[in-house]
């Protein structure tokens, strides 16, 4: 049994990262994730050989991550929506260079400077690449502070395993709320050796180099195919989701993160009124749990996707069901969180 503590989401990420062996954090202040930067600034200077830098910009922070990751250490940065937009160049380079790292996005309302309340409108940016070129991040979507902890630790493992940047896609609500968390003992897992590619000085070996480009288009295409193979492997092996009440459901809600939490209460309330609602909660947004959605669409013919966006994940759900069933959408946006009664009212509309 690990110890139980009451922690704020943003701070819990920091603690989880340190326990996962991430001693190199580079960040820039932005609401609603600044507590994470502050937590790292407090903890890392107390650890030998660790480094915390408040970077001059989001751009510099992600490029410091790029440099640190190239030496083989576990490293991370965090931000919120507008800051994540600024990091996209660096993220694309890191993905192309095939370096592992973790990026946390505690989303707020957008677009533009938006608001500082929770949002989920960075789904496209997070799951479809975000920067230029064909690449994906491994995207994990926590729904509680405990899951923030567990997924943060998993994110470092997955990033190392696939030498690809991983993103924790939370929102201002999960980052700001306090819940009881437990830092569980984790099973030791075998991860690929980094010795072949890290930059540590070429003592006793040929030089290593990391270059995210190739001016020969055929070689560049080969690199793209190689990266793409990893995504196919991710789709095969790393899909995660939670399901509730799929049997006998009259309608399936697909929701992630904060909205999925709300939907769980909706399901309980609906049951009292004799309405059977099921939930598919994607935990990995990339790779997306398309198979369970497709299978469920063979049994239930009504879906509702609820998001704090104006319709982003709904596109992936539609692709998964491939036109076989009705997929409806309900979204609030700009920092507005949908209420249980709003969602239930919406559900009832489709069950008439």
């Amino acid at each position: 049994m690990g110890e139980k503590m009451l922690m704020k989401g943003n701070e819990a990420i920091g603690e989880a990262a340190i326990r996962a062996g991430c001693y190199f954090y580079f960040g820039y202040p932005i609401t609603p994730q600044s507590e994470l930067t502050a937590y790292m600034s407090k903890k890392l200077p107390k650890i030998k050989n660790a480094a915390f830098i408040q970077a001059e910009s989001e751009v510099a922070a992600i490029n410091m991550v790029y440099g640190a990751a190239a030496t083989g250490v576990r490293t991370m940065t965090s931000s919120s929506s507008p800051g994540i937009s600024l990091k996209q160049e660096g993220i694309s380079y890191i993905a192309c260079a095939e370096l592992p790292c973790v990026i946390v996005n505690m989303q707020r309302g957008g677009p533009g400077l938006g608001s500082i309340q929770p949002g989920q409108a960075d789904y496209f940016q997070a799951t479809k690449g975000g920067g230029h070129g064909d690449y994906h991040l491994i995207v994990l979507a926590p729904s509680s502070v405990q899951e923030l902890v567990d997924l943060t630790m998993d994110a470092f493992d997955l990033a190392d395993k696939y030498t690809n940047p991983a993103m924790i896609l939370g929102d201002g609500l999960i980052g700001q709320m306090m819940e009881s968390v437990e830092f569980k003992e984790r099973k030791k897992i075998n991860l690929p050796d980094k010795e072949g590619w890290i930059l540590t000085g070429c003592k006793g070996r040929e030089k290593n180099y990391i270059v995210p480009f190739n001016l020969d288009p055929y070689e560049m295409e080969k690199l793209n195919f190689k990266i793409q193979d990893k995504y196919n492997e991710l789709k095969e092996k790393e899909v995660r989701y939670e399901t509730i009440n799929l049997e006998n459901a009259d309608l399936i809600v697909v929701a992630y993160g904060t909205v999925a939490r709300i939907v769980k209460t909706v399901i309980a309330n609906a049951k009292k009124e004799g309405i059977n609602i099921g939930l598919i909660r994607p935990i990995t947004l990339f790779p997306f749990p398309e198979k369970i959605i497709a299978e469920t669409s063979e049994k239930v013919n009504k879906f509702l996707v609820a998001e704090m966006s104006l319709g982003q994940m709904v596109e992936d759900v539609k692709l998964a069901v491939n036109g076989k069933v009705e997929v409806n959408f309900y979204g609030r946006v700009g920092g507005v969180i949908p209420t249980q009664s709003e969602i239930l009212t919406e559900i009832k509309k489709y069950l008439k």
Partner: protein, 248 residues
Amino acid sequence: MKKVFGKPKSLTKDPFTYCPGCHHGIAHRLVAEVVDEFGIREKTIGVCPVGCSVFAYVFFDCDMICAAHGRAPAVATGIKRAKPDSIVFTYQGDGDLASIGTAEIVHTANRGENITVIFINNAIYGMTGGQMAPTTLVGQVTQTSPYGRDAKTMGYPMKVAEMLAALKGVTYISRVALNKPANIIKAKKSIKKAFQVQLDGKGFSLVEILSTCPTNWGLSPIEANKWVEENMIPYYPLGELKTPEEVS
């Protein structure tokens, strides 16, 4: 027969692909010679920029990484903080360092990061075909200042060494040229001092190297060397702008 001159160990066997008369080759060699002389090749990590010297990773025979345009100092910061025992240098042109990368270079210098920056100032963008750089001289004709750089609308050429020397976090700053043997000898001494500062753990060092771009200047290699002497050096005076007493 005794070998008195050869290629530095810290350069690979690959022939340089730079244009005839371009100073990148000399600058690469000087850095490599210094790395050899300190015997630090096996713990050196170089960060190359975006621009002509994006290919520096091919020519330096030590661990290398290519940064995004202008971000080399941030990447070098990440490397140095993660591996403080390594010797880290960036190699950046004027578009990379003085234009798109101003935030990174200023703040890396201001934090006094213990890295060495080799800054190639040839007053033009080379790889993209000769556009105006922040360091382009007033009146200089480039692809994007076809009527000559007009200070009223395009600003004055940026004196990076002077600007950074004003920061307290900076330990060593110099400006050198490679247009004649005497200057090359001085340039090497300066690069050596810059690496010495890093080896001693004394903080941020930068050597601004006035260089040629005969191709985009539309001059022959010899004319280009003369152009450095007559046009660049008067505006960008050579010498040490900041040096700790111990290494001077």
